[in-house]
Symmetry: C2
Subunit: 539 residues, 2 copies
């Protein structure tokens, strides 16, 4: 049996059914390009029959010249009608897609309850619709909705649906666990039975994660003979999501030896997953398998000393195979070996038994006790280690800031920041407005520094997180702010903690600027001709 698996991505269709996921046409085109780069065989782009946005996508995606087949989704013709006159089927044909996914009912209960028609008419709807699409030159993937529930309830009818689709010329017969309630052993049984009954057909599997088993069910179907996987990047999808291709692909390829994508593309999987989570504007769970930021992160002290000897002791694959990397987390649970390894990453050799190492650990422990968290703030940690090592240059020093937020009834709120810092022995007082306090502080600090360090033009804040640390003490509770910053080539994270959210934001902001300036040489900075000693409010 073939070791090659066809990957069918439905991030742009089923993925957008997920709560909080909404993609513009441009977003969809960006994602399609990335999926094509990864090397999936099919990209399901949307439902041309449902909205004009999807019609526009199918039109514009053709200009990209992708290698993947572009697929349009739609339902079987309406009951009691003619396929050639069905508006939705015609929209699929007009869309310019290479292939069509046609969804049809295979659960008798659904035929009665949702379609409200007869079992016989449903078979005809499937047959007619597939024939019509095939005659129009499209490859047809038949998605048998609720196939497993249907099979459990009425196996003969569920199988007859697949036989009908096969007779009509469907290129792929896909078994869908639409409600996500099927167990892996059931999937294996049903897929085995169907593949035996239709030995010449090609089968696919489409699962949902309602029992946290979408990936396992996909593997069960493949081991029973299915050769196409329908899923989404990061498992996006309705309710609990679809089968997560970012776990399915490495499992099939690295654990079972199937071929899904090229090896060097698999090494881009983390990059693809994170890129698409950015476009979809959904935070990626830190503990997401294979591609998450913590997927190869080690916290326990014993684990860390073992992975230092041999990473296989606590890693099931080499993280780079999927483009991820090992991380050692700093926490009160962890010991010296964590800090030594972090320092090593920065090119600093720390003797594990030295006083210096002990001091850094004590400092970190103390800060963690105060509410700092360095696991998500590598750049703040690096500043701290460099300071302890004595190779931290201070390019500016803080004197004061003032932050004013003013709101009058009927008028927009105004935020102004006034920042006084010392650069190269001179005091600079700047003022700026902003969209909210952090933006105003960013603008004011930037104004003071940018004449000396023009590279700051390329740096911007890209993420901002706020967590209230202790719910018991209410308005005087501590607040932890995490800031992510980016320039053209790099991104870094910093942290600030205070009872005052403005002060916490300021601290994380200052860390970000200090980190951005780590590579700068203060002796080379551009001396502005006439530096103002006082700034004016200026947006």
């Amino acid at each position: 049996m073939s070791k090659s698996i066809s990957i069918f991505d439905t991030t742009l269709r089923d993925g957008t059914q997920g709560e909080g996921i909404s993609l513009s046409v441009d977003d969809k085109l960006h994602i399609a390009k990335k999926l094509d780069f990864l090397g999936v065989q099919y990209i399901e782009g949307g439902i041309p029959g449902s909205n004009t946005k999807d019609i526009e996508f199918f039109k514009r995606v053709q200009e990209l010249g992708l290698s993947a087949k572009i697929v349009a989704f739609g339902s079987t013709r309406r009951k009691g009608s003619v396929a050639a006159e069905d508006a939705n089927l015609n929209r699929i044909i007009e869309s310019g897609a290479d292939a069509a996914t046609l969804v049809g009912k295979s659960w008798d209960f659904h035929v009665h309850t949702a379609l409200q028609t007869t079992l016989e008419e449903n078979l005809e709807m499937i047959y007619d619709s597939i024939r019509y699409l095939k005659q129009s030159g499209l490859e047809v993937i038949f998605d048998a909705e609720h196939f497993f529930d249907g099979y459990k309830n009425n196996p003969a009818y569920a199988v007859s649906v697949m036989k009908k689709a096969y007779e009509a010329g469907a290129d792929w017969l896909v078994m869908c666990d639409t409600n996500g309630g099927t167990m892996p052993h059931e999937v294996h049984e049903v897929v085995s039975s169907l593949t035996e009954q239709l030995p010449n057909a090609k089968f696919g599997i489409h699962t949902h994660n309602d029992c946290e088993l979408a990936v396992a069910n996909t593997l069960a179907a493949i081991s029973a003979g299915a050769r196409q996987v329908q899923g989404t990047i990061n498992g996006y999808g309705e309710r609990c999501g679809n089968a997560n291709l970012c776990s399915v692909i490495p499992n099939l390829q690295l654990k079972f030896g199937y071929e899904c994508v090229e090896e060097e593309k698999l090494a881009q999987l983390t990059n693809v997953a994170r890129y698409i989570s950015e476009i979809a504007n959904v935070n990626m769970p830190v503990n997401q398998p294979y591609v998450g930021n913590a997927a190869f992160a080690h916290k326990g002290g014993i684990h860390v000393s073992a992975i230092m000897r041999d990473s296989r002791t606590y890693e099931h694959i080499v993280p780079e195979q999927v483009g991820n990397k090992q991380r050692v987390l700093v926490s009160e649970l962890a010991g010296q070996s964590n800090i030594v390894s972090k320092a090593k990453d920065m090119g600093i050799e720390f003797d594990p038994t030295s006083e210096q190492t002990k001091n850094v650990i004590d400092k970190i422990k103390d800060l963690e006790h105060q509410g700092y968290q360095f696991e998500g703030a590598d750049a703040s940690l690096e500043l701290l280690i460099r300071e302890a090592n004595g190779d931290m240059q201070e390019l500016f020093t803080f004197e004061s800031f003032k932050m004013l937020v003013e709101k009058n009834v009927g008028k927009p709120v105004v935020s102004e920041a006034f920042v006084k810092i010392n650069v190269g022995g001179r005091s600079h007082y700047t003022a700026a407005e902003g969209n909210g306090p952090l933006n105003a502080l960013d603008n004011a600090l930037r104004k003071a520094l940018i004449t000396y360090y023009p590279s700051l033009k390329n740096m911007h804040l890209s993420d901002y997180k706020v967590r209230v640390l202790d719910d018991k003490d209410t308005t005087a509770a501590k607040v932890r702010v995490l800031i992510e910053s980016k320039n053209f080539t790099d991104s870094w994270n910093t942290v600030g903690v205070s009872e005052n959210i403005i002060e916490a934001s300021w601290e994380a902001l200052v860390h970000s600027f200090r980190y951005a300036l780590l590579e700068e040489d203060p002796s080379e900075f551009i001396e502005p001709d006439a530096l103002p000693q006082q700034g004016l409010v200026n947006h």
Copy 2:
């Protein structure tokens, strides 16, 4: 074979190895109580040999009188030493726990690489340590670390480890997939083989989610004869987490018919999962199976009309079986019935088809689109419904606020708020300092109102949450603030949204005060003798 499964929760031990999870002793005690309420058999509380915090937990948990067995975790004795002199083993005994989890090596590679000892000495370490703990009267659960990797590499040795533990008197032999790299069919094979070789022993399974298969691997082990599940609430744990008990328990109970917890406790699962995520201060993924907010949420129009006919069309279980509920996203139908039922709770009769109801729904939709969330802000929703119903009395009106935060090097940060409101036709301008911006605003607003409404003395803010809503636009992203307030008898939640965190906080604060004053009669307010028109800064 028994249909009863022993649930072993390690949220407090392995769960705290997860990135971003750090629990105080009080947090751990709160969680232990909740786990006991759910009805798990074992609560693993920590590692008494590793830190004093865990020792304190084991001491204080005894005062709670829980039904579950409390378990302390530790490793086998050190190589070349005597069990009775091993400090970590003695700490377990002194902890007062009912049972001990003893972790030992079963992968020959780890014995050589991590322990750096001989295979024979490792067996002795396991035997001695278990004997010693058993002789001290403890129940012993033996966790064979890396059992599946060990079995693949050297099956005879892995089995000999289990036999040795069994001979030493271990009550449970637990197979751990420590690195999370094992596939379900392998788990089934290995567990089947071991249970055949030791027919009288009791077996457990401990899996990790590195391949997104922790739940599937747990089910595979149970179907092969294991009868204890080790896992964590919400799947917290190192790297990609442990087996998620919130999926394992309903799968075993509702899909396979095993007994894990009482039926009425299963109906509390969502409550338990969300409570513990609050204590752990980790956002629950909206799409988490069974207990997530979107687990039974329906977005597609066709799906919605089908579930209206029969919810089984797109739901694999009845959500209430796990204490969750169906939600229909952005749907006017669901919206109406929701609002009508909410209004009813307040004693307001809304006609579902009226213009008034439609207006409230449109308003809510619009606000939700802007980032408001009323699920966690019932008081704000009530204000909105009362306004629409025309029975909202305005006891004060807003004129302006100013918020000043000032920080000078070497001095503590200062927050001052200046608030101008109109009460009973008079303008009041007050100023106050505070611990942070929200506290200052609270103090200033309170100062203006309290002379009129002395009942406000009994009201205070009890919780404060901040969420940044849109990562793309960074410092100008929207911020949602949720405030919980309390008085002697009641607690209520309010929401504010703005690009400016100060404005969002102010909005939620004003809602809270308006809600607190709902029962006040403005005609009866105490007219202060001499109301100051201007306030002075006053803490």
